[in-house]
């Protein structure tokens, strides 16, 4: 991508809430049951039926609001969003409009615009070659999904790249998973994401015309879809064209972006307050229950971790990826001697360990026990093991597991060398073997020290401490 334009991206995320029953009726949620077996008069929209709001969904909505630092509306109401489609049995979706459950908030670098509750649509299956409703031989409806509670989370347009969008969404997913409010599985549709994308000339602050990109059902597709749409808009703008406000469909197979409807074709949803429901009135007791149901708010955890002496960055990283925080705290609580300083331990968790695991893997699922890592970082911090040797030990732990890093150190002879005669003589040998480099160091070229240190490290199998080696080099060269 050129630097001429800056992408501006906001996300709308639909999260299926893991309640026992649907949003407005008593039907159990469906997990692949035979079609139309989890339905009733209410979620089929039969004449005379009425919705009743699911208190548990409100409770989960409040937990999400608290986790995102949103303002919880003391009174919020449901609206009807009217449009005709066979997957919408009542001819309207019950959603929230201008008085949502949660307003504002922030997760990481991204501000939250709002969080509201609504019901999911049913599932349409189109038989025939087209695979879409137009041109299908037959379209059939499975109402099992219809009425599943959804929380819709809308961000402010604070994201600037496809990678950042995907990373942030992972952060959100972890947060929601930690809350236990959803399965957050993109492939199964319990976490769904649309992106609003616009470009603007770099260095300007006015927002460009945005498009809404739908149907990105994996993290990979989100990156690919947004990247493709940015490229499309950039080509348009660079050639003097204009971006049209429209809703777009991303085809992950071909990578093609096609228009679903233009602004002129946009539905007039004729929103009005749902007269069959009463306002959702939030009181202190409900907020208290939501708070009590959460292990700890990520923001609160970040604060507590900072008080342990962690940098703000480390504290946020651990707090917003709850499983990292859990692992870190388990390691910190392990009574090992010497004990690792918290910041060093955090660095090893988020840097060394995470770098050795698969993308998104929970360290608790790895072979490296929290106690073993704590013991290793303790040894390194006490300079009983060099950083380099520590990394070798960690490689072994990741590959083979093991409870006792000290034993590996022992077995492999990786214990750090003190600054005694042995190291003195290896440094002397290194200087002799790299006379040219030694000369350049003496002349003031600091970078020339590389081959000398490398020689020492090879000879000591990394047991030597780099700073100690450098000190001895300088001492022996008389500088």
């Amino acid at each position: 991508m050129s630097e001429r334009y800056e992408p501006v991206i906001g996300l709308e995320i639909h999260v299926q809430l893991a309640t026992a029953t649907k949003m407005f009726c008593g039907c159990e949620l469906s997990f692949g049951e035979p079609p139309n077996t989890r339905t009733c008069a209410v979620c089929l929209g039969l004449p005379g039926s009425l919705p009743v709001a699911n208190a548990r969904a409100v409770h989960f909505g409040l937990m999400i609001g608290l986790a995102l630092g949103s303002e919880l509306a003391p009174r919020s109401i449901f609206h009807r969003k009217n449009y005709f489609y066979p997957d919408l049995p009542k001819g309207y979706q019950i959603s929230q409009y201008d008085e949502p459950l949660c307003l504002g908030g922030r997760l990481g670098d991204v501000r939250i615009h709002r969080v509201h509750l609504e019901e999911d649509a049913a599932k349409l299956i189109h038989l025939g070659a087209s695979g879409r409703i137009h041109g299908s031989d037959v379209s059939i409806v499975d109402f099992n999904r219809g009425g599943t509670p959804l929380a819709e989370i809308v961000t402010e347009p604070d994201l600037r790249s496809p990678e950042q969008a995907s990373e942030w969404l992972k952060l959100l997913r972890t947060t929601l998973r930690q809350l236990g409010v959803s399965d957050v599985n993109m492939e199964e549709g319990s976490l769904r994401c649309d992106a609003n994308i616009s470009l603007r000339p770099s260095g300007t602050s006015e927002l460009g015309v945005k498009t809404e990109l739908k149907n990105m059902n994996s993290f990979r597709f989100i990156e690919r879809g947004i990247r493709a749409e940015i490229a499309r808009q950039e080509t348009l703008l660079s050639s003097g064209g204009k971006v049209l406000q429209e809703t777009l469909h991303f085809d992950p197979g071909s990578g093609a972006i096609t228009s679903l409807r233009s602004k002129e074709e946009a539905h007039d949803y004729r929103y009005f307050p749902e007269p069959d429901l009463v306002p959702v009135a939030i009181d202190e007791a409900m907020i208290g229950e939501a708070r009590a149901a959460m292990s700890e708010l990520p923001a609160e955890r970040a604060e507590r971790l900072e008080e342990l002496g962690l940098s703000a960055d480390s504290a946020q990283q651990l707090a917003f990826r709850g499983e990292l925080g859990d692992y870190f705290e388990a390691a910190l609580a392990a009574e090992v001697d010497p004990a690792p300083p918290p910041q060093a331990l955090a660095n090893w968790v988020t840097g060394e360990l995470l770098g050795r695991l698969a993308d998104g893997e929970d360290p608790a699922d790895s072979r490296v026990g929290a106690r073993a890592l704590a013991a290793l970082v303790g040894l390194v911090s006490a300079k009983r093991v060099s950083v380099g040797a520590g990394r070798q030990v960690l490689d072994r732990l990741v590959a083979e597991g093991g409870e006792d890093p000290a034993a590996i150190v022992q077995a492999e002879g990786l214990a750090a060398m003190d600054g005694g005669d042995e190291l003195w003589s290896i440094v002397a040998a290194a200087l002799a073997a790299n006379a040219d480099a030694a000369a350049r160091v003496r002349e003031g070229n600091a970078k020339a020290i590389g081959p000398i240190v490398g020689y020492v490290m090879r000879e000591t199998k990394g047991r030597a401490e780099g700073t100690e080696v450098a000190r001895l080099v300088h001492e022996q060269l008389g500088i």
């Binding site: 039969l46 039926s49 009425l50 009005f272």
Partner: protein, 485 residues
């Protein structure tokens, strides 16, 4: 048996003088015999097993729009022809638990949209006082059936007057309770924020008895609530100390609403009733409801708006009629709804769709909601000065079939006196208060046509309302017998 009110029939059954099956068979036969009035859309096949409960098996006619499991429920519409609901409305279940037995479903205006029962896809119901006239609507089938003695009592629904106005035009008692006091679950919705079920009965005592077994919070209806106390049997014979308010704005409408002015015969009957009330110890004073004249236009924005959304589910996808041979989805929707809905329903769907459209919402729906709030405030403030408010129920007696069908506005004016109470959500009852010659001078069965008196009270004042209605009913001594077939 025909002479017995429902309460009297219960007493006779309890005393062993009458069997519930005998009574049921009697009414079922009458309902079948007098098909000419077209009161019913369904009549029970056999005689049910004896049922216990405080209502002792007394038969009940139910407006068609209440869902009844396995029994046709068509809401007066072609689009629901032959529809058999898989469940029963809460209020019907409660009444049947209390011992009422379903004898018939009654005709109505399509989706309760109308004031004459002429908008039924199953033909108009005739007024038993004069078969050339309408019974009012939309609960015209229920009102006519009770008046004609084809059912001891009946259920109706009232959105803007659909219980009270047909009760008035047929000379029976009709009560619209406080919004929320009766569950709406299983009532096919017209306008959700206004719809309310209520009794149509021969007398006030029956109305209280039926209502007693209808009310109560229903977990399936989020807008339902528990009345503060039980509905009591009305006993009052006097009105000592009761302050009655007559709203000047409603009695002397002007401008666009001039057509809503009560005709002379109605006015006379109303004024005679006020005199009777004073004789019983009541005081009568003028009361102000400054925004009440705007209730009608506000109602005809709000009710169609909600209806346009409530009726979206009739799309041919899951139940009811589906137009055959549609070429695609849109064609199926448009043809199903074109063929399935009658003209008045289409008119209101279009009105409501327009009023909710982006760019018009504030000017129509938003403004109508603000008017609604003002009207509710008017009533609250009026009830500081008076206990009850009285008006004629309808400006005219029963009008002729076809008289108002050509001009929707004149038909809408039929709701002029009843709509303000609907918007305010307060209870109101209509009782017969005399006969009046028809405006054209015709003199039917009993020498005139029934006039209704409307009495309205603050929210949850049902017992006070019923007591006052009971005292007046005794004093008025209305004779409904001429309408019996």
């Amino acid at each position: 048996m025909l002479e017995l009110s429902a309460a009297q029939a219960i007493a006779a059954i309890e005393a062993g003088e009458l069997s519930a099956q005998e009574l049921f068979a009697f009414y079922r036969e009458r309902a079948n015999e007098h098909g000419g009035l077209n009161c019913f859309t369904w009549i029970a096949d056999g005689v049910p097993l004896p049922s216990g409960g405080p209502l002792s098996g007394v038969p009940l006619a139910v407006k068609d729009l209440f869902c009844t499991e396995g029994v046709p429920t068509q809401s007066g519409s072609r689009i629901l022809e032959g529809y058999l609901p898989p469940y029963t409305a809460t209020v019907v279940s409660r009444l049947s638990d209390a011992g009422a037995t379903l004898v018939a479903k009654t005709n109505q205006d399509e989706f309760a949209m109308g004031s004459s029962t002429e908008n039924s896809a199953y033909g108009p119901t005739l007024n038993p006082w004069d078969r050339g006239r309408v019974p009012g609507g939309s609960s015209g089938g229920s009102a006519a059936a009770v008046a004609a003695g084809l059912a001891p009592w009946a259920l109706g629904t009232d959105t803007g007057g659909s219980i009270r106005q047909p009760a008035a035009l047929c000379g029976v008692v009709g009560l619209k309770p406080t919004y929320g006091s009766v569950s709406r679950y299983g009532m096919i919705a017209f306008a959700s924020s206004l719809d309310q079920a209520g009794p149509l009965t021969r007398d006030v005592t029956d109305a209280a008895l039926l209502l007693k077994h209808m009310v109560g919070r229903d977990p399936c209806d989020a807008t339902s609530l528990q009345l503060p106390g039980e509905i009591a049997k009305p006993q009052a014979e006097r009105l000592d100390g009761v302050r009655l308010g007559v709203p000047a704005e409603l009695l002397t409408p002007g401008g666009d609403f001039a057509g809503a002015e009560a005709e002379p015969g109605v006015r006379d009957a109303f004024e005679r009733t006020l005199k009777l009330a004073e004789d019983l110890g009541a005081s009568v004073q003028e009361v102000r409801l400054p925004h009440a004249p705007y209730a009608l236009p506000a109602y005809y924005v709000l009710a169609p708006s909600e209806a346009s959304s409530n009726l979206a589910r009739f799309d041919g996808v899951r139940f009811g009629m589906r137009a055959p041979d549609a070429t695609d989805l849109l064609d199926m929707y448009t043809r199903t709804r074109h063929d399935g809905f009658g003209p008045e329903v289409k008119r209101r769907i279009m009105l409501g769709t327009y009023a909710l459209s982006s760019g018009y919402y504030d000017a129509y729906y938003g403004r109508a909601q603000r008017v609604r709030t003002k009207i509710a405030e008017d009533f609250r403030s009026a009830f500081q000065d008076v206990d009850l408010i009285v008006t004629p129920t309808s400006a005219s007696v029963a009008f002729e079939l076809g008289e108002k069908t050509a001009n929707p506005w004149t038909m809408y004016l039929s709701d002029y006196f009843t709509v303000p109470m609907s918007l305010a959500g307060i209870p109101a009852i209509s009782i017969p208060c005399g006969l009046s010659p028809a405006s054209d001078g015709a003199s039917p069965a009993g020498g005139g046509l029934p006039v209704g008196l409307q009495i309205a009270g603050p929210a949850f004042s049902e017992n006070r309302l019923l007591d006052a209605a009971h005292a007046l009913e005794r004093a008025i001594g209305f004779d409904g017998v001429p309408a019996r077939v």
